[in-house]
Symmetry: C2
Subunit: 731 residues, 2 copies
C-alpha cells in the first residue's frame, strides 16, 4: 500500500507532482494510513453529513472528504443525511435538528468552540462535530482529521475545545511591491498587482492551513505601512482577499499609516484631535466596511522608528488610538496599537520605554483598542525576560506579539523551534495579582477579566513552495496557532503533533525529531547570545555576529550598547545601581532580578554587569562559562546534523535533503558565531581561553570584515547595497 501512490503516480506521469514532497501541503498531507493502522478506523468516517449550505459548511465538507479520502484511501461521499454507520455529521444546533436534539455541552464554548463526540443516532454509530457556528464546526473537523492523522483512537471520541484568546492573528510584514520585511521565504503571497481581477488559488490553501490551527485573522500589510493600501483601488484588492478567506473564518485587518490623511487625503495635518482628520478616518472606515462588511480593524505602529504618530502633534498614544477606535467602533472593528515605541532621543535604557509610555495611560483607551506588546522589552531576541507591561495595565486590553519569522534566530536556515520560547513567556509569572499571575492569564484575559484578547504572530510565510523557507519553520507557524488557541498548551505536545502530521507516525522518527526541535532554541541561544546577552547580531541584516558593532545610526542600535563589555566584566546593569529597569516589574519579580544570585543564569547579563571572575553555578568563572556556552552551542549543532543524517531512511528525499543542507549552513554559522564572539570578547576581557578550548579559526579583524550584503528580509523599496571589497566576503 505504501508504495502504491508512487507507482500509480509514475504510471500517470505525475511523478514530479506526486513524488515531490516539496512541503507545500504542510501538516495537511492526508497520506493513506498504513494497513495495520487502517484496521483501527473501520466504521469511522464512512461518509460526511451536513445540513448546512453555508460557504463555511461547504469548505468543511470538502476538507473532510479530502482528508478522509486520503487517509482511508477510498472515495468518501458527502450528503445531507445519515445513511450509514460511521458517518461524520457536522453542524450547529441551528442548522441540524439532529445536533440540536443531542443537547451537547455547547453553552460555554462561544462562537468558535466545538464538541466532537462518538455516539449512536437512530441505531447508527456516528461521529458528531458540533459548534455554535459553522466556523466552530470547521475547527472541529480539522481536529477530527488530526485524530486520524496522528493515529489516535476515533471510536469513542469526546472532545470539547474552545479558544482561550479571541483574536489569533498573523501580522504580515509584506510590502506592496511584493517584498517582505524580515521575510525569508520568497516574495509575498499577496499578488497585489493582479488583484482584484485575479486571486491566487494559493490563498485558499493559506486559509485552510490557518483555519486548521485556529488562526482567525490576518493583517495583510507591513506595520511600516504605505498609505496607498487605504486608497480605493487597494481597498478593492483587499476585499477580494477578504472574500477568499471569509469561509474559513479569517478576517482581514490592515496596517494604518498615521499620516495617511496628509499623504492620500490631502489634509494639512494628521492631528488626531483635528475634526477634519477625525472625519477623514471615519469616512475611510465607512468606505472600507462598505467593501468588507466583516473587516477586522487597524494595526498601528506609531511614533516608533521614524513612523508618524500622534506625538508629532503633541498628542498621546491614547489620543491616536482612540480616534481610530471611534472611527471603527460603529462597525465593530478594533485597533491594535503597538507598544513597540522608542523616541528619537536615546533614553537611558531603551527597553524601559514601552512601559514608561503606556503605563500612565492605563484605562485611557477605548474598549475596542488593544495594546499589542512584544513578548520581551527589546525586540524578539533569542532570549529576553517577559515585558514588564504584562500585568502592569489591568484596565487596558493587552495583547501579545511574537515573531514567527526568525529575524534574530538565523532566518530560515537555522533549525530553531520557537515553541519553548513562547511557552517560557506564557508561563512567566508577573505577580500582578500575586503568585501564578502568568503572562498566559494576561493574554487570555482571565487575570483582569479583559473582553478583548489578542495573540499576534509576525508571519514567516512567503511564496516559496514550502511556504516558510524551510520545512521546520512550518512548525513555528503551526505552534503559533496552537498556542494562540491555548496559551497553556505544551510546546512538546505541539511539536509531537507537528512531526506526525508533517512527516509520519513512526516513533523511530518522531522521538528524535521532537528531541531536535525541543533542544534547538537553547542551542541557538548558546551559540548566539548566551547567559542573557542580547542584540549581538550585525546591524540591519541581524544575521551574523557583530558584537563589536558600535557605529550604527544610534547608540541603542549597537550591540556594544547591550553587552557593555569592558575589562572588568560584561552585562547591562538594570538594577537600582544602573538603569533600574527591574523596578518596572512587580516587587517579587523585581527582587529576584535585582540580586545577582537570584537572577536566573540565562538572564544574568541582561540584568547585571558581572565581573569576568564571577563564579557561576557550574563553578566556572563567568569568562570560562561564556566561552564554554558558545562552544557547547556549536558542538550541539553538529550533533543535530548528525541526528538528522541518521533519519534519512525514514524521510522522503526532498525534505530530508533541504533540511540537511540547512543544517550544514547552521553548522557553518554556529562555528562563526562561536569563533567571532570569543575573538571579540577576548579582545575586551584580555583573558586566556579556558584549558582545552579551541582558539577561533581567524583573527578578530577577519570576523569584523565579514558582511552579508543582500541578506534577505531587508525588503521594501529604498534599500541600496554596495558590494564590499573582495577580501571582505570570505565567509
Amino acid at each position: 500500500m505504501k508504495l502504491l501512490p508512487l507507482v500509480l503516480a509514475a504510471a500517470f506521469g505525475m511523478l514530479s507532482a506526486a513524488q515531490a514532497e516539496d512541503g507545500y501541503q504542510l501538516w495537511l498531507r492526508y497520506q493513506p494510513l498504513e494497513k495495520p493502522a487502517l484496521a483501527g478506523y473501520r466504521g469511522v468516517g464512512t461518509e460526511v453529513v451536513s445540513a448546512s449550505h453555508s460557504a463555511t459548511a461547504k469548505v468543511t465538507a470538502d476538507e473532510l472528504v479530502r482528508g478522509l479520502s486520503g487517509l482511508l484511501a477510498k472515495r468518501i461521499a458527502a450528503g445531507d443525511s445519515i445513511r450509514t454507520g460511521g458517518a461524520v455529521l457536522f453542524g450547529t444546533p441551528t442548522n441540524s435538528p439532529t445536533i440540536a436534539s443531542l443537547k451537547l455541552p455547547l453553552e460555554n464554548l462561544g462562537p468558535e468552540g466545538y464538541v466532537i463526540r462518538s455516539l449512536t443516532v437512530k441505531g447508527k454509530k456516528i461521529t458528531v462535530i458540533a459548534g455554535n457556528s459553522d466556523i466552530g464546526a470547521l475547527y472541529g473537523a480539522f481536529r477530527f482529521l488530526k485524530v486520524i492523522q496522528t493515529r489516535a483512537p476515533a471510536d469513542h471520541l469526546d472532545i470539547v475545545s474552545a479558544p482561550a484568546v479571541k483574536l489569533r492573528l498573523l501580522d504580515h510584514w509584506d510590502n506592496l511591491d511584493g517584498t517582505i520585511e524580515r521575510g525569508y521565504a520568497g516574495a509575498s503571497i499577496f499578488n497585489w498587482w493582479t488583484l482584484p481581477e485575479h486571486v491566487s488559488p494559493r490563498l485558499v490553501d493559506y486559509a485552510r492551513a490557518n483555519a486548521s490551527i485556529g488562526i482567525n485573522g490576518a493583517v495583510v500589510i507591513n506595520v511600516n505601512a504605505s498609505a496607498l493600501i487605504l486608497t480605493r483601488d487597494y481597498i478593492a484588492k483587499v476585499a477580494a482577499i477578504a472574500d477568499t478567506l471569509r469561509p474559513y473564518g479569517i478576517k482581514v485587518y490592515l496596517s494604518a499609516r498615521f499620516s495617511a490623511p496628509i499623504e492620500i487625503g490631502r489634509l494639512p495635518t494628521a492631528d488626531p484631535l483635528d475634526p477634519a482628520v477625525r472625519a477623514w478616518w471615519k469616512n475611510k472606515a465607512d468606505e472600507i466596511y462598505h467593501a468588507i462588511p466583516d473587516f477586522g480593524g487597524f494595526l498601528v505602529k506609531a511614533n516608533s522608528e521614524g513612523q508618524p504618530g500622534p506625538q508629532d502633534y503633541g498628542r498621546s498614544h491614547a489620543d491616536g488610538a482612540n480616534m481610530l477606535a471611534d472611527a471603527l467602533a460603529p462597525h465593530g472593528g478594533v485597533v491594535m496599537w503597538r507598544a513597540f515605541v522608542y523616541s528619537h532621543e536615546v533614553p537611558d535604557d531603551r527597553i524601559k520605554q514601552a512601559y514608561s509610555e503606556f503605563k500612565p495611560f492605563d484605562g485611557k483607551f477605548r474598549d475596542n483598542v488593544i495594546v499589542q506588546v512584544k513578548n520581551g522589552p527589546l525586540d524578539f531576541q533569542p532570549r529576553e525576560p517577559f515585558s514588564a507591561l504584562f500585568g502592569a495595565t489591568p484596565a487596558t486590553n493587552t495583547g501579545l506579539e511574537v515573531q514567527i519569522t526568525k529575524e534574530y534566530l538565523g532566518f530560515n536556515t537555522h533549525l530553531v523551534y520557537l515553541g519553548p520560547l513562547w511557552q517560557e513567556v506564557m508561563q512567566s509569572d508577573t505577580y500582578a495579582k500575586g503568585p501564578s499571575s502568568t503572562v498566559a492569564k494576561v493574554i487570555d484575559g482571565s487575570l483582569f477579566g479583559s473582553k478583548l484578547t489578542l495573540m499576534a504572530g509576525v508571519s514567516n510565510i512567503g511564496a516559496d513552495r514550502n511556504w516558510c523557507g524551510s520545512i521546520f519553520d512550518q512548525a513555528n507557524w503551526y505552534a503559533f496557532g496552537r498556542l494562540a488557541w491555548d496559551p497553556n498548551a505544551s510546546a512538546g505536545d505541539i511539536a509531537n503533533d507537528w512531526v506526525k502530521l508533517t512527516f509520519n507516525n513512526n516513533p523511530a522518527l518522531t522521538k528524535p525529531v521532537v528531541g531536535l526541535m525541543m533542544g534547538s532554541r537553547e542551542i541557538a541561544v548558546d551559540y548566539m547570545t548566551p547567559l542573557g546577552l542580547a542584540h549581538q547580531m550585525g546591524t540591519s541584516g541581524h544575521y551574523g555576529p557583530g558584537p563589536w558593532v558600535d557605529d550604527a545610526g544610534r547608540p541603542d542600535w549597537n550591540p556594544v550598547y547591550y553587552a557593555r563589555a569592558d575589562r572588568s566584566g560584561i552585562g547591562f546593569d538594570r538594577t537600582a545601581t544602573g538603569s533600574n529597569a527591574v523596578a518596572q516589574y512587580f516587587p517579587a519579580v523585581a527582587d529576584k532580578f535585582s540580586k545577582l544570585e537570584t537572577t536566573p543564569e540565562n538572564l544574568l547579563l541582561w540584568f547585571h554587569h558581572v565581573p569576568w571572575s564571577y563564579r557561576v553555578a557550574s563553578g566556572r568563572t563567568l569568562w570560562d562559562e561564556l566561552v564554554s556556552r558558545y562552544t557547547d552551542g556549536e558542538a550541539k549543532v553538529h550533533a543535530m546534523a548528525g541526528t538528522w543524517a541518521k533519519l534519512k531512511p525514514l524521510i522522503d528525499a526532498e525534505r530530508f535533503d533541504v533540511t540537511a543542507d540547512d543544517l550544514t549552513i547552521q553548522e557553518r554559522d554556529a562555528k562563526l558565531w562561536r569563533d567571532a564572539s570569543i575573538a571579540y570578547f577576548q579582545s575586551v576581557s584580555g583573558l586566556p581561553l579556558p584549558a582545552g578550548m579551541k582558539a577561533p579559526a581567524h583573527s578578530l579583524s577577519y570576523y569584523k570584515a565579514l558582511s552579508w550584503p543582500y541578506a534577505p528580509g531587508q525588503g521594501g523599496p529604498g534599500r541600496k547595497i554596495l558590494p564590499p571589497p573582495e577580501d571582505d566576503t570570505q565567509h
Copy 2:
C-alpha cells in the same frame, strides 16, 4: 482511463498535488494518452536502452522513462541492452557499438544534432536516438517524446536535426537580492542566499525545460550587474548552479561589471589598456574556470544607461571587449558585448547610435567576441523595424537579443504571443548581399560565414509556480528556444506544438487557441502603438499609456520624443529631411523606408512625420485610421476573451481561470490604452472623432493623473516609491 488519475489521486490524498494544473510542469506534462491514441503506439517505447553511463545519459534515460511511463500509462524500464521489440536505444557511435554499426548520417550534425530512426536490429523493431555527443542524444530524446505527446506516428521515424545557432541563451535580469528587473513572475529562481550549500531542486526542472527546447546557456545575473558576483563567495555559488545545469548541456555565463577591478579589485582604474586591469581580469577568468571548467563567458553592458565602460577611459568598445576576450580565450570563453548603447549627451536620434558606435569597429573584435544586437534599434517595442546593424558588420560576430519578458507588452497579464514578432525580425531582408539576405541568415552565420553565432532572450522566468507569471507566457519561453534552434521555424507551427503539449490534442481546443496566439501580437500593437508608433508607455514602469509624458530624465526617454505629434501631423521623420536614420540601411531598404508610399503602413510613423489628413491604404485619413486602429485593438481583446470563455469545457479549471482573469485585465487595459491615447492625440490634432467612434470614457486630465506605483519589474535595490494622492489612483 482519462478520469483514473484523479480518482486515484483522490484516493491517495494527493488531490492538491495531482489535481492542480498549476502550470509548473510546462510543456513536459506527459499525461496518459487517450485510449484510441494509445493503440497507435503499441510496440513503441517498451523499454529504454543506453550503453553510456555519463551524467547526461543518466538524465536522458530518466526523462525517457518518466515521459514514456506517463504517456503510455505503464512502468517503462531502463537497461543497457535491447531485450524487446519497441526498445528505445539512445547514445553515440562512441558509446554504443550498435549505433556505430548503423552508420547514421551524423557527420554534419555537430555536437548537438541528432538522428531519430525506426529500424530493425537483430530482428527487433526499435527506435534509435543518436547524436555525436550525449547532449545530442538528450535533445533527440525530448524530440522523440514530443512525437508521442503531439500524437504523431512513431513507427516509421526518420528525423534529422541540428541547431542553426551555436549559442542559444537565456539572459536573466535577476539581481542578487532576489528581485528581477523587468520580471513579472515573482522572485528569482536563483537562491543566492542559500547557495552553494543548498541548490533548489527547481533548478533541475529549469534545466529539463531548457534542454527540451535546445537552450544551451544561461546568463544568471542582470546586465546591470553587481561586481559582487565576481567575488570568491559568489563564484562558489555560481559553480553549484553550473554543476546542476551541466548534465543538461547548459553552460553558465555571467554579466561582468566593467568597473569591477575598482569595486572589488581595489585598483584605481578599470582602463582596458592598463596592464594591472588586464592582469586582474585574466586572474579573475582563471579563478572562475578553476571553479567552473566549462564556464561560458561574460555578457557586458558598457557605456549604456550609466553603466561603466571603456569610453570612461577614452577607449573604444573594441578595446573593452577584446580585453575581456583575451582573458577568456585561453579557456575557450566568449564575450557577448551589447550594442544597446546611447551616450549621456542626447543625440539627434537615439536609434542611430548603436549603428554609429559599432559599424566603424567592424573587424576590430576578437574571434571570441560577439556583438549582441537587439532586434530593433530602439528597445523591444511591440513593433520596430529590424536593427540596421544586422548585415552591416560582415567581419564581426553578430548575435540577436530579443526580450521574452514583456516589458513593453503588458507584462504577464496581457496575452501576447511573441513568435510572430520574432519571425518578422528573422525574415526581414537586410539586402546586405542582395535580396534574401535575411536577418535569420545573419544570426545563423550563413550570410557571412561566421563561426560564432548567438540568439539571446531576456528571460521571463521567476519563482511563480507557473514559472512565467501566466500560462501563455510559457509559450514565449518555448518559442524562443525553438526559434534559436531554427531561426526559420514557423511561429504558427511552434504555437500549435506548444498548445498540444501544454493543454491537449483536441482540435476543438488547439485550433482556436493557436488562432488567439497568432493574432495576439498585432492586436497589442493596435491598442498600444499602431502604425509604427513606439515607446508611448508611461515612463519607468512601461505598463500603461503615457503618450503625453515629456518630463522624463532626458528627452529621448519621453514618449513625446518618439511620436512627435503636433497640429500638422504625427510621426518621426527619419528620412533625409529628418534624422536620416534610413541611411543606415542598405540602399534597397533605405529607398523603401524613405518614401511614404513604399513604407509598410505598420512602420509609417516610425519613419515619417505624416499629416493628419494623409490618406492611408484603407482610404481613411491618418487621423481616422489611428483612431480606428486603437478601437479595433480594444474590440479584438474583447473577442479574445470571448473565444477563451467558450473553451472552458476543454481546459482544466485552474489554468482556465487564471487565463480568464488575465484576459479581464487585458480588456480593462486595452480600453484604457485606446481611450487615453485617443484623448491625448485628439488634444494635439484638434480633430473630431470619426463618425460612430466612441469618445474616451474620461477626460485627458483623468488619464494623465493615473499612475502605477509598485508596478512589478522595476526590481533591484535602490528604488523608492511614493504613493500618489488618492485621486490619482482610480484606474
